[in-house]
């Protein structure tokens, strides 16, 4: 037993050596906080090589809320990659720095429809990074009805084979849109209706999933699931029976952005702008989009892509789809109401 531990210690030490060490003179530190697996490794490596004077510290989070909790606890970062509604929250919390857009080269590569979005008018605090829609991923061999409305998720024919998204905003959004309301509504009556319809749906729902919906859909474990378009594209690539649709009642269009925090100053701030400019480069954005598999808001990058990709409606939805999608806005105090309904739905 003692020997076992001793050998284990050696293994640990050996791994430390493997991880290597290095060090050159750096004048700036860039503390980046991003989703896991949300940047092309080569892109990051290239940035490090091009800028040896910048020390890149790269941390990862698994949800917007986890990121916010860490920030609220007092941890400091320079660059964040939050989602739309979280950007709005961060603006309210006064954690973000106003961007000097003139310092971001290649900014004109970004498509116009992604600038000046409702959660950050004028792009004062963020530039878009990745985007997509929310819709229904369904298995064509298991679903014989047309999938064009959220109603199908309430269809008893598919009881026990329906997967909803395990987040209060996304599930409420589905219910609200089905009832014809806005995903950002603060009307108590509308919210109660939505909550009731979700409660009524619960017996039909197999599970509320987030990322594990992907493998369930790929191996045919469920007939339909509410997913993000990027995940849908991935799943369709792994299983030809799958298809994706954004219902006619409309849906949510989501945008993940990049921001600079208030705690980023001086040399680090210069480094931050260098990084943002780098991300907006067409080739870099293309590489990121191809690696991650989500749609890029960078029009110049889109131009460089294969026609097949450009024509894919899941990746590059036509304008009429975009017109019926809404971006999430922060709900302020109403969030407690949303969450309370969600707790009740889940508690029973």
């Amino acid at each position: 037993m003692k020997k076992f531990f001793a050998l284990l210690l050696c293994l640990a030490m050996a791994c430390t050596m493997l991880a290597g060490c290095g060090g050159t003179e750096t004048t700036a530190t860039l503390r980046i906080y991003n989703w896991g697996d949300y940047i092309d490794d080569d892109v990051l490596d290239q940035f490090r090589k091009d800028h040896p004077e910048i020390k890149v510290v790269y941390d990862m989070f698994d949800s917007n809320e986890a990121m916010l909790a860490k920030l609220e606890g007092g941890a400091e970062y320079d660059i964040l990659f939050p989602s739309d509604y979280m950007i709005e929250k961060l603006i309210q919390e006064e954690m973000l720095q106003e961007l000097d857009l003139s310092r971001i080269e290649n900014l004109d590569n970004i498509g116009d429809s992604f600038l000046n979005m409702a959660f950050d008018p004028g792009n004062k605090y963020s530039i878009p990074y990745m985007w997509g829609t929310v819709g229904i991923l369904y298995n064509t061999t298991m679903v014989d009805d047309p999938v064009d409305s959220w109603d199908i998720l309430w269809d008893e024919k598919y009881a026990g084979k329906i997967v909803m998204y395990d987040s209060v905003r996304d599930s409420m959004a589905v219910a609200l849109k089905r009832l014809g309301y806005s995903v950002n509504t603060t009307d108590d009556g509308e919210l109660q209706e939505a909550a009731e319809t979700l409660q009524a749906q619960k017996p039909l729902v197999m599970a509320y999933m987030m990322d594990n919906a992907k493998s369930t859909m790929i191996n045919g474990g469920a007939a339909m699931a509410v997913v993000y378009s990027g995940d849908a594209i991935f799943c369709m690539g792994e299983n030809e029976d799958l298809a994706y649709a954004v219902p006619k009642e409309g849906s949510n269009v989501w945008v993940d952005g990049v921001c600079i925090t208030k705690s980023c100053t001086g040399e680090n701030l210069d480094a931050a702008y260098t990084f943002l400019s780098y991300l907006c480069d067409a080739e870099v954005a293309k590489a990121n989009s191809e690696y991650i598999g989500y749609a890029t808001p960078n029009a110049a990058a889109l131009e460089l892509m294969d026609d097949a990709v450009k024509a894919d409606p899941a990746y590059n939805p036509p304008q009429d789809v975009l017109d019926r999608c809404e971006v999430y806005l922060d709900l302020g105090d109403k969030e407690a109401v949303y969450s309370r309904y969600w707790e009740q739905i889940k508690a029973n």
């Binding site: 809320e65 909790a69 729902v205 599970a207 594990n212 369930t216 969450s339 707790e343 889940k346 508690a347």
Partner: protein, 275 residues
């Protein structure tokens, strides 16, 4: 020198890293965010924590944890017994085999478990041979308990094993010499001596199981909110750290009080057994 002085390093550690954070939790639990940005002392959160919605969820979590603990005990006790019997000389190394699965990342092994229990998975196929179609093995209470047992079984086996190993074989031989058969040897020698380990195991499984959230979310399909989920919700989505702290505090107090009563009962008993 008094032996209790050995505990001093721990007591200092405990003061800094357990009691001070506890103080922070109590502080948060007793206050709420004031509209102007500061904090105001209030007991509203405490009252809210006892709302039937939350108490119901706590009850369910405790119940599931209890069942999981029982199953762990039923499965784990024989394992420890067998490993310490005379047939197994390498018990101390074998025990690592029972712990090793826990060294694989939790998410990964849970996804693998889902894969196995899924409708197209191995277990479903096996049951299909017996004519059982579409077994509902996932996204329900069964799956949650299975997941809890899977993740906590080694924590039950280890303490029981530790208590049983090095049971003076002289004692067992003496009992056998005095005419006891296998069953009586077990009932009167091994079982009583293993009890401290059993109590330890129950503690180390039940307590963390009550506040588990990942298992219920992944294996339960997030169909049932557990107490751990509710607390997590407060910190992440509701961003009400105060209420989150309150819920945690309430649960802590309830659990500690019940464990206190349980230990009082157990202490009286075991005192008689050892002397």
């Amino acid at each position: 020198m008094k032996r209790s002085v050995f505990a001093t390093p721990y007591l200092i550690w405990m003061a800094i890293f357990i009691l001070v954070p506890l103080g922070i939790i109590v502080y948060y639990a007793m206050t709420a965010a004031a509209p102007d940005g500061g904090v105001v002392f209030t007991l509203d959160n405490l009252i809210k924590a006892f709302d039937p919605l939350y108490m119901g969820i706590l009850g369910r979590s405790v119940w599931l944890a209890f069942i999981a603990t029982c199953v762990c005990l039923l499965i784990g006790y024989p394992v420890a017994l067998i490993l310490t019997s005379r047939n197994f000389k390498k018990g101390s190394l074998l025990i690592i085999l029972f712990v090793l699965p826990m060294w694989m990342n939790f998410l990964l092994r849970t996804y693998a478990l889902i894969n196995i229990l899924d409708n197209g998975g191995v277990v479903a196929q096996f049951l299909g041979l017996f004519g059982i179609q579409n077994p509902k093995l996932l996204y329900n209470t069964f799956a949650i308990i299975l997941g809890l047992v899977y993740n906590y079984l080694p924590f039950m086996i280890l303490p029981i094993y530790s208590a049983m190993v090095k049971i003076d074989h002289g004692l067992i031989e003496a009992a056998e010499d005095l005419g006891a058969n296998s069953w009586n040897v077990f009932r009167r020698v091994r079982f009583p001596l293993s009890l401290p380990g059993v109590v330890s195991g129950i503690t180390m499984v039940f307590m963390p199981a009550v506040t588990t959230f990942a298992v219920s979310r992944l294996l339960g399909g997030s169909n049932f909110m557990m107490y751990g989920d509710v607390i997590e919700n407060q910190f992440f989505f509701m961003r009400d750290w105060h209420f989150g702290a309150t819920l945690s505090l309430v649960m802590m107090v309830l659990m500690l009080v019940s464990s206190f009563i349980f230990r009082k009962y157990q202490d009286d008993d075991s005192g008689g057994m050892l002397w």
